[in-house]
């Protein structure tokens, strides 16, 4: 049953001639809302920073070039759209054309975008190749992402430390006023020299993080179990801030990066002041991890005389199994014997042949194998002390 409301004709339903009753004032208000951001102009940042490295500058230039090209295309597309919306309206009395093909035009607007993309691809390729050059680094820093902080290790200088968010929780939870670098400040920034190629070796201890400092033009994902390179040559001293750029758990938003670029001299002075805190990362020194190594070294160095099963060949080569040296006190006696040997006997000094670690492993093995089971764990430091 067709309703008898006048605005519906008995033919096809048309709503061609009347504009709706949304008041013009309200439309203006809505458009005004679009302009609202302009009111808070002064502190707004709209664009990528040009940054302080050759790469960041190239990225900025490439970025602006692409924007310029897209804006030009946009101007044309939106211009055509506006022209159509204004002029080709039923309400204006337009009579629709009937064409639905124009092979020539279609070919042009397939070819021209392709050529524009080709033109974009050339500088993009150049910058990508430029970024892919990790040779001749002058400073190498290993960056390890962890939940939720960064660890920096200067591999050649032997300096290492952790870098954590310095903003106090009070500021985060609103009980204190936030300072200007809220969430972008750390307790120990990364110090790097200017005008030197700094290579970053980025990895992670747990989940995927990402080390991003926009002004350096560097972002590299930190993948657990893998190391990926990045580099930067900073040309201006200053402080540059970034954040973790891969969701890594609860405090993903709370592990910022602060890089302080200083003169070479300042950098060297700073390195000196750090003290050599870098330990070569070793697996944990436990009985479980040491005994297999100890056995291996024992078999290689000691079993010739003391036998693999510790029974030796008395009287010349004493048994170590149940030997008072191997199961008794003081432990220093055992260490001394191995380190310095026994003058005038077949037991040689091993001090110059084996490292502290290897000696400690062997002695640990001797004190625990073949039923000796003292449970003693000898450390390299203990051996070092008896030298």
């Amino acid at each position: 049953m067709v309703s008898t409301i006048k605005s519906f004709k008995s033919g096809p339903m048309v709503r061609e001639n009347r504009l709706p009753s949304v008041s013009r004032t309200l439309k203006l208000i809505l458009f005004g809302l679009l302009l609202a951001p302009g009111l808070c102009w002064s502190e707004l940042k709209f664009n990528l920073p040009r940054g302080v490295t050759p790469i960041s500058a190239d990225l900025y230039d490439l970025h602006m070039t692409i924007i310029a090209i897209c804006s030009l295309i946009g101007l044309i597309v939106y211009g055509v759209l506006a022209y159509i919306l204004i002029n080709h309206r039923l309400a204006k009395g337009a009579v629709p054309a009937t064409f639905s093909n124009n092979l020539r035009v279609e070919n042009w607007w397939t070819l021209i975008p392709f050529l524009i993309l080709l033109a974009m691809a050339v500088p993009a390729t150049k910058v990508l190749i430029e970024m892919d050059d990790f040779d001749d680094a002058e400073v190498t820093i290993k960056i390890t992402g962890m939940q939720w902080k960064w660890q920096y290790q200067y591999l050649d200088q032997g300096v290492e430390f952790f870098s954590k968010l310095a903003t106090p929780p009070g500021q985060i939870y609103g009980t204190q006023t936030k300072d200007p670098w809220y969430l972008l400040e750390v307790d120990k920034p990364l110090i790097v020299p200017i005008n030197k190629k700094v290579r970053f070796l980025v990895t992670s201890n747990d989940v995927i993080h990402s080390w991003w400092v926009p002004e350096l033009g560097v972002k590299r994902d930190a993948i657990p179990g893998f190391i990926h390179e990045a580099w930067a040559r900073i040309d201006t001293p200053g402080t540059y801030r970034g954040q973790c750029a891969e969701l890594c758990g609860v405090d993903h938003g709370f592990m910022p990066i602060v890089v302080k670029a200083v003169s070479e001299m300042e950098f060297n002075v700073w390195i000196e002041s750090q003290g050599k805190s870098l330990r070569v990362t070793q697996p944990a020194w436990t009985l479980k991890s040491v005994l297999p190594k100890g056995k291996q070294s024992y078999d290689r160095n000691c079993a010739a005389c003391h036998q693999s099963d510790g029974t030796g060949n008395p009287p010349l080569y004493p048994a170590l199994q149940s030997s008072s040296v191997a199961v008794g006190d003081p432990i220093e006696r055992h260490i001394d014997l191995v380190l310095h040997g026994i003058e005038g006997s077949a037991m040689q000094s091993f001090a110059d042949q084996l490292s502290d670690q290897e000696l400690a492993a062997i002695i640990t093995y001797e004190r625990n194998a073949w039923g000796n089971d003292t449970g003693d764990l000898i450390t390299p430091e203990q051996v070092q002390q008896r030298r």
């Binding site: 949304v22 609103g174 179990g225 709370f254």
Partner: protein
């Protein structure tokens, strides 16, 4: 309502239906509900981000919010809406009485419902809901994911099966049940785009299933697919996920393209320009979508050759996409335009999807992507292609076809309020995000530096206006179903196609004999 459907009772009709129209309605209601759920999650996110500082939610729950917002919107709102439109429209447009496999159709729907219930329930599980982003990156999701992760994985399995079965149904229908003289090159564009989408789904959903199964195995069966300590590789996860993930976004947009291709000619009173090239462009986009996935991984340490390859292929996709935009403009050019609500949404789609296309080209440029990746620039980009892109197109489709489905006209004034409020507020919400990203704000953070405060405040205001404006749409749709001026079968004077030859609403079983196209 025909007497047939009135006689069988509410439960039997809606739970056991094998009718494509009813199943289409079910999908659309499901999608609307999930859209409001996903929207609520978004408003919670934007409420927290209104000002610097942690105000309402703890960081872990914030991560859960962003994860579930993505999952609900992609799998609960966008995809089911497109399937709903497909179910309603494909048989009507090709002159078929129903889908090829009606019972499978029913199963696909209810499987989806159970999957979404399971996914939503993870929010309430011990240990909290999934909190590692909708992209589920390992090892955050494997080694460090909460217990609810396993249930999310089961939900994803079911979502995938539902999509695969639905895709099979669509392909079988389009191949086998077209009216006798509906040749391939007479197929409406909406049918073409869904045909191609269905093939994409069959290609990628098994890959997603494999991805999450490997996650399940790493979490529960001692495997190390994504764990370097056991010989695996977290990057492997990203490759396999994005091999699904990139074509997935084309699954989202192609049906939207199809809807626009139906609407623009109607309200321009002019045939679609360049039909042949539109079909070719759709195929080109779908095929090329398989070759671009690692543009989501430019910063993950790819060798130079890989970066170059994926940069070039990604840039290339702009060509067929641009062709579509130009063809729509050429359709409107020298037409006689009227601006009913569907046309308003379609025109906004053309303008703003193009905006998303420009930022997409920017992101494709691999070197500069090092600055954009995982920043709010990306969030701005994909919300432009998803909101004024996918959502606007699907909304336009609902306004366009609702009178046909219900036999009643929706309220045009409410439609225009819905449109203008949505249009202005979404730009308020998402345009500043580009600036935030360029200024250095990362994604997925619950709190941010003071330098990002102003644009975040604007975005939150826009988001709330946008969210509440959708209630106008809900009201309009529900009211139209119950009451409204009657419409004719033609509904829109410029509309062409088999669906407009049927009554409004169409018979419960239509095209019992094949029509002539």
């Amino acid at each position: 309502m025909t007497t047939h459907s009135n006689n069988i009772g509410f439960v039997k009709r809606w739970i056991f239906t094998t009718n494509h129209k009813d199943i289409g309605t079910l999908y659309l209601f499901l999608s609307l509900t999930m859209f409001l759920v996903g929207g609520t999650l978004a408003l919670l996110i934007r409420a927290e981000l209104f000002q610097p500082g942690l105000s309402f939610v703890d960081p872990n729950f914030f991560n859960t919010l962003t994860t579930m917002h993505g999952i609900v919107m992609v799998f609960g709102a966008a995809m089911p809406a497109a399937v709903g439109l497909a179910n309603w429209q494909i048989p009507l447009m090709i002159g078929a009485p129903d889908m090829a496999l009606p019972r499978l159709n029913n199963m696909s729907f209810w499987l989806l419902v159970f999957a979404l219930i399971l996914a939503s329930s993870t929010l309430f599980m011990e240990g909290g809901g999934p909190n590692f982003g909708w992209t589920l990156y390992a090892p955050l999701s494997t080694t460090y994911g909460p217990p609810s992760t396993d249930f999310l994985i089961f939900s994803v399995h079911m979502l995938g099966i539902s999509s695969i079965l639905g895709a099979i149904n669509i392909i079988a229908t389009i191949f086998n049940m077209r009216a006798p003289d509906m040749t391939w090159m007479k197929l409406p564009m909406f049918v073409w785009t869904w045909l191609v989408t269905a093939f994409l789904l069959i290609g990628i959903m098994p890959v997603l299933a494999a991805t999450v199964t490997m996650m399940l195995a790493d979490r529960n069966f001692g495997t190390s697919f994504f764990d370097a300590a056991g010989g695996g590789d977290p990057i492997l996860y990203q490759h396999i996920f994005w091999f699904f993930g990139h074509p997935e976004v084309y699954v989202l947009i192609l049906p939207a393209f199809g809807v626009i291709s139906q609407i623009i000619p109607t309200f321009s009173r002019k045939p679609l320009f360049g039909y042949g090239r539109m079909v070719a462009a759709t195929l080109a986009i779908a095929i090329m979508s398989y070759f671009v996935w690692a543009h989501h991984m430019f910063t993950s340490g790819m060798p130079l050759a890989g970066e170059l390859f994926f940069m070039y292929t990604t840039m290339l996709i702009a060509v067929p996409t641009g062709i579509k935009i130009f063809n729509w403009l050429a359709t409107m050019y020298r037409g006689a335009l009227s601006f009913e609500t569907p046309m308003l949404f379609a025109i906004a789609f053309i303008a703003l999807f193009t905006m998303g296309g420009f930022t997409g080209v920017m992101l494709a440029i691999a070197p500069t992507d090092f600055q954009y990746h995982d920043s709010y620039f990306v969030v701005g980009h994909f919300h432009y292609v998803l909101v004024p892109g996918v959502i606007f197109a699907l909304t336009a489709g609902v306004y366009y076809w609702l009178p046909k489905w219900c036999g009643k006209q929706y309220n045009e004034t409410l439609g225009r309020w819905h449109f203008w409020l949505s249009f202005v507020s979404l730009n308020l919400t998402f345009f500043p995000m580009h600036f935030l990203g360029l200024a250095g704000m990362p994604r997925r953070i619950p709190d941010y530096a003071l330098q990002f405060a102003d644009f975040n405040a604007v975005a939150t205001i826009g988001a709330f206006i946008f969210g509440f404006s959708q209630l106008i749409f809900v009201f309009n749709v529900l009211r139209t179903i119950r009451q409204g001026p009657t419409v004719t079968s033609q509904v829109w004077s410029g509309a062409q196609g088999l669906e407009w030859t049927l009554s409004s609403p169409p018979p419960y079983h239509s095209f019992k004999t094949p029509p002539t196209a």
